[in-house]
């Protein structure tokens, strides 16, 4: 799966989790850019991404992620 395909699928997850199809996430998107992306929604997001990609994050990944690009790095490694 290419990085673009992963980003597209991540976008779909964001739409479902935040119930907002207008969200467009990019590599540089952070929690500050998405309304309602709080700590609880972050947990939901991580669990939905795990389900969507059939992979697991490590706890250190979840704490250390700074933006969507870093999230994509982890997904890319897991699914490759």
């Amino acid at each position: 799966m290419s990085r673009e395909e992963i980003l597209s699928k991540v976008n779909d997850v964001f739409h479902d989790v935040f119930d907002d199809d207008s969200i467009v996430v990019t590599e540089s998107t952070t929690a500050d850019d998405v309304e309602d992306w709080d700590s609880l929604m972050h947990i939901t997001l991580i669990s939905e991404i795990e389900s969507a990609f059939g992979m697991k994050f490590q706890m250190k990944d979840v704490v250390g992620m700074q933006n969507v690009g870093e999230m994509l790095d982890i997904i890319e490694k897991a699914v490759s």
């Binding site: 609880l40 947990i43 939901t44 991580i46 669990s47 795990e50 389900s51 697991k56 994050f57 706890m59």
Partner: protein, 139 residues
Amino acid sequence: MNHYTISELTIGMTESFTVEVTEEMQDKFTEISEDINPMHIDEDYAKRHGCKGRLVYGMLTSSFYSRLAGVYLPGEHCILHEVKSRFHNPVYIGDVLTVMGTVEEVHEAVRTIRIKAVIVNQDGQKVSQAVITAGVQEY
């Protein structure tokens, strides 16, 4: 009460309990919620509108999802994040409900589980179903 930690929870784990819905529960829920819709508080009105008796509040039925998560699955360490529920059939005072939940997903990195839950009445009819997301706290 159960005391499951995140590492003890696995996909497929199931817990259940039964509960009879009493008039006292219905009346307490009226008092708490102040939902005075006549379908819930007026027997004659409810019967005139096609019910067998006072209609038990859907949210009273859903409150058993709180017990399922907070007492059984995972139990003590539960922090409820989300309950998405649907109501399929009416519940009446005197019904004996079986509340059952099965772990469908375990997300260790964020200490969260997803539970598929269902509530059936004494006739085996599904009255409600839900997807529950619960955090599992570490102390």
